[in-house]
């Protein structure tokens, strides 16, 4: 279908964009539009004014240093995916973006837009939580920073206030020896995951030293798997896998049922992904 009528503006500064967003009810930010425009075409979302931030100078900036990567609000997923320097600092960004949509979607879709959209089955919000990302936000009350762990409050729901705009996100580099695994079960390539896992794992010579595990597609928001993280530490390839599976199932008790899978299936799927990730990290260490 076609979107219902709305007014459109293309401001040239963040301040102008925030003014419109704060003044007009149901004003929405248009960055890549790869989730917003389908929702508007389906008339699933009510938009009075679309604030296209594509003309705001500098918002497409991407910066990379050994401690982390900063991605501006209008930097596309393709821009980030194709950048070898970014992949060297935050390997999870490339690993996650490979699962996001298709080439045509990534050419327009933005990293920050995916975070703002907060689809519970999306990879980037889970990666943001796993990498201690911090979002830079501008609003009518000034600028503030929000930790990814405090940002996602439910399906398509975040702690952004009315009139606020994400201007950039900063992903912190994982420990140098860590391996990042982004793995998921999805029905078709490029589709949203039925269930998925981001794992940042530090393997020792024989056993796991540290683990950060965040599931997605399970509930309303990225799910930190804290019991499983505790079980991972000290786990070795010859240990039973049941302990991991049991911990993951306990962590994901509120995984939901829908037409694609039951909550039970989702818990079992993420448990299997967790075992697979642990083995991969330990094997990679052995091969090194």
């Amino acid at each position: 279908m076609k979107p219902a009528e709305f007014d459109y503006c293309r401001p040239s500064t963040v301040a102008e964009a925030v003014t419109v967003l704060a003044d007009v009810e149901s004003a929405r930010v248009l960055a890549g539009g790869q989730s917003l425009i389908p929702a508007m075409n389906f008339r699933l979302t009510d938009v009075s004014v679309l604030v296209d931030i594509g003309g705001v100078e500098g918002l497409d900036a991407v910066a990379c240093d050994p401690e982390g990567v900063t991605v501006g609000a209008t930097a596309t997923q393709t821009r980030v995916l194709d950048d070898d320097a970014i992949a060297a600092v935050i390997p999870g960004l490339r690993a996650a973006l490979r699962h996001v949509g298709h080439l045509q979607i990534r050419n327009r879709g933005t990293v920050c837009g995916s975070l703002a959209h907060a689809d519970p089955a999306a990879e980037l919000p889970a990666l943001a939580v796993a990498c201690d990302a911090v979002l830079a936000v501008s609003g009518p009350g000034g600028d503030r920073r929000i930790r990814a762990a405090d940002f996602f409050s439910g399906p398509f729901w975040t702690t952004l206030e009315d009139g606020e705009l994400i201007t950039a996100v900063r992903f912190a580099a994982p420990p140098a020896a860590a391996m990042t695994v982004v793995d998921e079960i999805s029905r078709r390539a490029g589709d949203f995951a039925v269930a998925g896992l981001v794992a940042v794992l530090e393997a020792g010579d024989r056993e796991m030293r540290s683990a950060r595990l965040v599931g997605f597609g399970l509930g309303g928001a990225p799910t930190r798997l804290k019991e499983a993280e505790a079980v991972f530490v000290g786990w070795a390839a010859d240990h039973p896998t049941d302990v991991i599976a049991e911990a993951v199932v306990a962590d994901t008790a509120d995984a939901f049922d829908d037409i694609h899978a039951t909550g039970w299936y989702r818990r079992e799927a993420v448990a299997a992904l967790a075992v697979r990730a642990a083995r991969r990290a330990l094997n990679a260490r052995e091969d090194a």
């Binding site: 009528e5 401001p11 075409n41 003309g55 298709h102 080439l103």
Partner: protein, 171 residues
Amino acid sequence: MTTSEPTSETDVEVTVNGRRHRHRAPSRLLLSDYIRDTVGLTGTHVGCEHGYCGACTVLVDGDAVRSCLMLAAQVSGAEIRTVEDLAPAGSDSLSPMQQAFHDNYALQCGFCTAGFLMTLESVDPSRYETPEQVVELLSGNLCRCTGYHNIVAAVTEAWNLSRRRGGSDYG
């Protein structure tokens, strides 16, 4: 061009296949409808209108995009290319990829074909070595007639990819 005043109509100034166009368009007008109805180039097809099928793929400043997921207002100042731009102007011949599609029976009803061709046009063939990589590249375009095998065969031929890699039955 930027303006912070919200309006229900927007000036669109754009180059499509080398020709400049200037219109005052409703802000809600999708790029796909702008190309088909306002500019009058109907080679770009509209399938699902929610970014799933890839039939409406066009190039915006060289990048393959879904034209049903962009507004005409967003492309002001951009250069658009559509399927009409692929074959050499003023001749009856096809582009090499179009010819390969023809030779390999890579289309039946043809509804999806423009989207496939524009996706292929947007990339550097030297980045693709195997039919499997082509399958991955084309995963954003749906075809309901061919079962994809003949499309992959056409690309394999046009790009002269190795047909012996990985025991694939593609090509």
